[in-house]
């Protein structure tokens, strides 16, 4: 049950991607601009999709973003290193729901939930996830794909 996963907690994640804040991420209010959060979350999400889900090796399909929700929970200031935690939350018929959160140390700066649709790269139509792929993906719902310790 995805409702039981608390995306504000570091222990909800095993897969991490680290990013430096860039000076150009900061806006005139002196904190990381909301647009830069989207770029940080995307960095973590794509690393997870490649390294854990292996999506770049699924033949003939691409992942297209259908929806993102971001909750901004704390300001981030420059300079800082952040870690983006990623995990699979739900498997739909033709889509995946991922959770991604941005942390600076133990501070949760943002949580996000993204819906990605699997589409055929030539017809551009959604593709149903086959049983074998689904079985493999289900193993990732536990969020135990530890890649590194920060």
């Amino acid at each position: 049950m995805s409702g039981a996963i608390d995306l504000t907690e570091r222990q909800s994640f095993a897969f991490w991607y680290q990013e430096n804040l860039r000076f150009s991420d900061i806006d005139m209010l002196g904190h990381v601009n909301n647009v830069a959060y989207a770029a940080l979350i995307e960095s973590g999400r794509i690393a997870y999709a490649r390294e854990v889900l292996g999506m770049n090796r699924w033949p003939g399909v691409i992942l297209v973003m259908a929806r993102i929700e971001i909750d901004y929970r704390a300001e981030l200031h420059y300079p800082a290193v952040v870690q983006i935690g990623s995990r699979l939350m739900r498997i739909g018929r033709t889509s995946l729901v991922l959770g991604n959160s941005v942390f600076r140390g133990d501070l949760c700066a943002a949580t996000s939930v993204t819906t990605l649709v699997i589409i055929d790269s030539s017809t551009r139509r959604p593709v149903a996830i086959e049983a074998a792929a689904r079985a493999k993906l289900e193993g990732h719902l536990l969020g135990k794909e530890q890649n590194a310790v920060f």
Copy 2:
């Protein structure tokens, strides 16, 4: 009732802000990257907050983003001019909910809903919207602040 507002329809908006897509908005899939949508939506939203809501003239408070939801509805390709429609959807005790959609002509490329919290710029605590300000804001719930015709 915000549920009755269809953010995919141009006629739901009277306030418009126009943006060129930039080459650097496009990603390796050849379409506007999801991060660039956040920048486009922000441009429209801030124009609306300044020009319609006059938020930059409210003394002692700033608007801080608490949440954004973006639904990606169509791909955008380069070059193109887009229009971002903005309107006020709900007035909370200390927050405002805005709707912003990105159109290329009649094509709705994305809809978004943003929650902004009004905070005291020195204490950084949420500030309740006073009766006079609320009355003025309620006039904007109709979405009739026409600024230009594209």
Copy 3:
């Protein structure tokens, strides 16, 4: 003689591209970040390369950036509309040198000079500009390709 072209003067340009500053272009010093100037200059340059030079229709070649020089001449603040003037300055054996300047009204905020190399899209090697193409390009050295008046 390119030395005679003053890139700080509006009258040095006939081809213009207009851009809105975006909130996310502004940095914590409250002015347009130097990185955003590069994006603005790129927008103007690519519009010129497509619309005037027709580079996207040259078969089998792509333009690759080899060098950029940007001189920052005035701060830009938000919100503002800027115009980017573009012109061809020199034609090399396998390269083109373009001048691009960013103006807000009569204020010249930045000038830039970019060297683009024409490369074969399959071999990735520089391609010499043939006589016919060169003759056509030479007509653009005068900077008279007026596209619009702002």
Copy 4:
């Protein structure tokens, strides 16, 4: 003599800053967009200005960019980790010239030279570098401020 410093060589640098490429740095040609190089170079330059030159602790002055030159020397593809080397190259009366290069392993992807002017934060006028500060800065011309080994 700055002419003697080869910015394409890793051994010309002792101060390093590491960055991940982000998916949003990549453009439709499938390589890191030239605008993203400016952001990467800025990240390295600001880290150097803070950590080595201590510019954020100089009272009453700020560093303003007057000029940048970037030579693009190799394409960068996603995903990759890059290192930005930074060093002081020249000390002017009111300005500093820095060299910054972007490497992926031993591959030099870009070199750049930036001129920064020291201005009074209230009058916004250039400030001459005093003898004591100049003596301290001269020690950095050797490029020996090793901060980390990558």
